[in-house]
Symmetry: C2
Subunit: 206 residues, 2 copies
């Protein structure tokens, strides 16, 4: 099955602006992409990017917004899997579970209603990544009479969108993104309730 | 295997105070407990509570803090599983995956470093639920030479601690807690980025 990895090469991870500047966010996005490509290794992934990018996989450049770019690919060929590039916890095992269910449409929900990975075997299925997309994708599958399965995976559910997500990378990440984050001074703060993310910047805070 | 469900019957879900008052939080906690007991149905769960509680399972009352109460039980009997009472997405399938790995210690991480479920087969394993407990539990397992497995489950990872978590209940919950939340006016707000939780209170906001 063809596997696409949509990637924003221009201005990725805007919601991490409270902790990282634009150049850092690009470096972190590239590190996460490397981890995702690694987890997809045996599946020959293709990056679907809005600009040329230097990475360990072939790149298709499509300057349309995410939804339109993915739908153009789904119209051209199914089955197709779409795995987001910002999943710093993803592993080969988690990817294997995405391909397990024998359903026309398979979705792996992300935190807050996103669709972090999906498999479309029905040629008429189209995506809509705006809003609570996982709910809309389930509805879209039902509307075309496609069978539907959900993958129950924490590693697929965590996308690094907001500073709080970086806690999960520090706790459970084992790849390039986790190493980059630790190297940049990313630390856990554990003072009651959930752990929080903080940056330790030698020469600045200390 | 014995299955314990720790439950705070006195002042549960304090971090939901921005959206629910004390009585509502107790009702929501009871609804989540009902869902967890339902998912654990075939495993004859026992509630480990800090006060008497009326629920569909036997109750052991222990007024000690969570860590001490659980450790007293682990000292008395292993194997023992400990499944938190505030997992509104948990299903029988997710529970089955907790019991799958044949390891001395099995952990299911929660968002922000918690340990939402664990299995202790090694009689010398003890818990410590303070701070990033999943990290500490992994370390504790290594320290006693116990084999360790992690369960990759979104449904086990989501505990309803903070208002943002209620989004996941509305999106993926199918039980008593989700119904309670909808009935109380819990709604999704989808305006870019992740969906947010809001309350629709007839007669107040409308």
């Amino acid at each position: 099955m063809r596997v696409l990895v949509p990637f924003d090469a221009i201005d990725p991870k805007r919601r991490l602006a409270p902790v990282f500047d634009a150049e850092e966010r690009r470096a972190f996005a590239a590190a996460m992409l490397a981890d995702v490509l690694d987890a997809l290794d045996t599946h020959d992934p293709v990056i679907l990017s809005n600009a040329p990018v230097d990475a360990a996989a072939p790149v298709t450049v499509d300057r349309q917004p995410l939804t339109e770019a993915v739908n153009a690919e789904l119209a051209a060929e199914t089955p197709t899997a779409v795995v987001m590039a910002d999943l710093p916890l993803v592993t080969g095992d988690a990817v294997a579970r995405l391909f397990e269910p024998d359903a026309d449409v398979v979705v792996a929900p992300g935190l807050g209603g996103g669709t972090n990975a999906l498999v479309a075997r029905d040629p008429s299925f189209r995506t809509d990544y705006h809003g609570a997309s996982v709910r809309d994708h389930r509805r879209a599958a039902r509307d075309i009479g496609a069978s539907l399965a959900s993958v129950d995976s924490f590693r697929l559910a965590v996308d690094a969108d907001e500073p709080a997500d970086l806690v999960e990378v520090l706790l459970h990440g084992e790849g390039t993104a986790a190493a980059w984050l630790r190297d940049r001074g990313g630390r856990l703060e554990t003072t009651g309730g959930r752990a929080r993310f903080r940056l330790e910047k030698p020469g600045r805070d200390t």
